[in-house]
């Protein structure tokens, strides 16, 4: 009698460009999942890595695994975030394992550890390598975590485990998810991070990272808002100071004709413009919230305390 878990899980993989390496990664992960779960499905997201997808299909047909394999083929290369979202949308499991990166050096036991952790009541569990990630990405995470209001912090990661409840919640909060990591941290659900020592060297997935980083900062933190508002107000202050200086000079030093008028126009104009900017930025941040956030507030859970 085997005592495999009864929950149905989906394992979602982002296919890499090296067909054989991708296949052996998936095969190994499946072997582990197979040993733990009675029912699971495999979803491979093919972000224009057709050779890997073909190879996987071929080898999988030859293997004797009974779990269904679904390959989601993206029409044009859209990057990890978009592609994995498609994979998540088609998955049917109670739990979703997201394997974004076949170079994550994930040691065997981590998958099970994540599942156990989630059973403790964490809807989102992230496995994060102790070593790995580039200097710039570390800087980005520092800025992000500094300005984000989320309970969870983000960092380099090798795998995510989501419960169906978490997926439903994420759909309810945001109409679309441009950056999963940040959305998970911002979801208000209970999240946990497990650190692991990579079995092989951790190599990040290539992606449009600068664009992603800026989007994430704008959407999930108030760093961009605070920075731009600060600049506008600072510039407004300078322009206003210039106005005061002009007034002082005009009253005390009798400057050449025309200087005062030019200076008055310039400083008043700039003050007005920067004040306007500050207001526009405030407007924009409200708009981002209106469009992007479907819900006004986030509740992690409701505890009822009853008097006996």
């Amino acid at each position: 009698m085997d005592n495999k878990e009864k929950s149905m899980v989906s394992a979602i993989f982002y296919l890499g460009s090296d067909a054989e390496q991708t296949y052996s990664y998936i095969e190994k992960a499946c072997e582990l999942i197979d040993a733990m779960f009675e029912h699971y499905e495999i979803i491979a997201v093919n972000d224009c890595e057709d050779r890997s997808a073909e190879y996987l299909k071929l080898r999988y047909q030859e293997s004797d695994r009974s779990a269904p394999l679904t390959i989601v083929n993206m029409s044009v290369k859209q990057g990890v975030e978009c592609a994995m979202n498609a994979g998540i949308d088609i998955a049917i499991g109670d739990y979703l394992f997201e394997f974004d990166n076949i170079n994550s050096g994930l040691p065997a036991g981590v998958i099970m550890d994540c599942f156990r952790k989630s059973a403790e009541g964490y809807d989102i569990v992230t496995a994060s390598p102790r070593e790995g990630g580039t200097g710039t990405s570390k800087l980005f995470y520092r800025i992000f975590n500094r300005f984000s209001h989320s309970r969870g912090k983000i960092g380099t990661d090798g795998m995510h485990l989501l419960s169906r409840r978490a997926v439903n919640r994420l759909h309810a909060i945001n109409s679309y998810i441009p950056y999963r990591k940040a959305a998970y941290a911002a979801s208000g659900l209970r999240t946990a991070t497990l650190n692991y020592d990579p079995a092989t060297k951790f190599v990040s997935v290539k992606d449009d990272r600068t664009g992603k980083a800026i989007d994430a900062l704008i959407l999930y933190t108030d760093a961009a808002y605070r920075l731009s508002l600060f600049i506008s107000l600072f510039m407004f202050a300078i322009a206003a100071a210039a106005g005061i200086y002009t007034l002082v000079v005009y009253l005390s030093l009798k400057p050449v004709a025309g200087w005062t008028t030019s200076m008055a126009v310039i400083s008043a104009g700039f003050s007005g413009m920067f004040l306007l900017f500050a207001i526009v930025i405030k407007y924009l941040s409200l708009l981002v919230n209106l469009v992007f956030q479907n819900q006004k507030y986030l509740v992690a859970s409701v505890d009822k305390v009853q008097h006996h």
Binding site: M8, A91, D94, S175
Partner: protein
């Protein structure tokens, strides 16, 4: 023995044809391989009385389906479950249609469709439109009883069970159909064997129809109290359907991806499970539902799909699975305005094959058999 009409197969189509011939005063015999009528596709299916909702991409089919729907619901009114609300939803992702399209389509086809809030039934973000529609579920057991009662009151109609046809020869202007060593002579053979249609055509030396086959699983289960008054279908793509199974206490659960277990593209259905079954082989198809080499149930996957979409109070508890071979006609054979294929392989004596993917298209039989 000589008959005016010999019908092979006592599924819905064979029985309905027998009734028509009987009324016309023809001396008719129905030869059926199984021990009772309607034990294969006519019983093992979703029991949906189609009303056109399934064809958001084909207006002609939808309109036609609406006409069949009305007539069938009237004639078999006492064998139909109308006591549930049918919910159709269009999936947000991976669907070939969307809410706006579906609504426009229903309006154009003139079928009932009232848009409601998704939150009553579905999790957030999974569907982009939810509609209350009108669709029923037929009860194959009740239909069998009704049809057999009607036929038994006709002196000129005989239905013989456990009579598998294993030989068909032509003698002058007659066909001789052999079952259980008995010969049945006639100048009109109706082949109503659905998944075995090509087997019978082959036996008689006629060209087969271009078909493919899918071994399908229909799951029956107990719906939770919240689910009970509803039938729910998510479309149009790799989704699922959960709806009352006739007038029984059960709902059926099916899904486009997981209901088919095996596919055969051969002229005669060739499947791996046949090796294990012993009796069944491509030229001699047995009843999949009674077979001992049935595949393992895909319940967990179908259930997973259902849970992904539906709120947790809409539950379904597994009771049992039924299996049948589904026949799919190649596109070239399908005429949208008449989804039934009626093929006349020989005129005099007549050898006619009837094939349809829908129970309530039995009325297509009239056109040919009256003429």
């Amino acid at each position: 023995m000589t008959y005016d009409r010999v019908i092979i197969g006592a599924g819905m189509f064979g029985l309905y044809a027998a009734k028509m011939f009987g009324r016309m005063g023809q001396n008719t015999v129905v030869l059926e391989a199984d021990s009772d009528a309607m034990l294969r596709a006519s019983f093992v299916n979703q029991a949906r009385v189609h009303n056109g909702y399934h064809y958001p991409r084909s207006m002609a089919t939808a309109k036609q389906a609406g006409q069949y729907f009305g007539r069938f619901s009237e004639e078999f009114g006492d064998c139909i479950n109308r006591s549930f609300t049918k919910v159709y939803a269009t999936s947000t992702n991976f669907s070939w249609t969307n809410a706006a399209e579906f609504k426009a389509f229903c309006a154009a086809a003139g079928i009932t469709c009232e848009q409601v809030d998704h939150r009553k039934f579905f999790n957030d973000g999974v569907v982009d439109g939810v509609f209350l529609t009108e669709e029923y579920s037929f009860d194959a057991d009740l239909i069998r009883t009704k049809m057999m009662r009607e036929l038994s009151s006709m002196d000129n109609v005989q239905v013989l069970f456990s009579h598998r046809v294993d030989k068909i020869t032509r003698k002058n202007s007659h066909f001789i159909v052999t079952a259980c060593g008995e010969e049945y002579e006639t100048d009109f053979v109706l082949n109503a064997t659905y998944a075995s249609a090509n087997e019978i055509l082959d036996m008689a030396g006629f060209d087969p129809l271009p078909t493919k086959y899918e071994l399908c699983e229909i799951i029956l289960g107990e719906p939770s109290d919240t689910l009970k008054p509803y039938g729910i279908t998510v479309m149009d793509g790799p989704f699922f359907s959960v709806m009352p199974f006739g007038c029984s206490d059960y709902h059926s659960l099916t899904s486009v991806c997981f209901t088919p277990h095996a596919t055969s593209y051969d002229k005669l259905p060739t499947l791996k499970c046949q090796e294990r079954s012993g009796e069944c082989h491509p030229g001699c198809l047995q009843n999949c539902d009674l077979c001992n080499a049935k595949p393992k149930s895909a319940f967990h996957y179908m259930h997973g799909l259902m849970r992904k979409y539906l709120k947790s109070e809409y539950e379904f508890n597994y009771v049992r699975s039924h299996f049948a071979l589904k026949l799919i006609l190649k596109a070239s054979e399908i005429d949208d305005s008449r989804p039934t294929v009626i093929k006349e392989s020989s005129k005099d004596p007549a050898f006619v094959t009837v094939l349809s993917g829908k129970i309530n298209t039995i009325y297509d039989l009239e056109e040919v058999l009256n003429g």
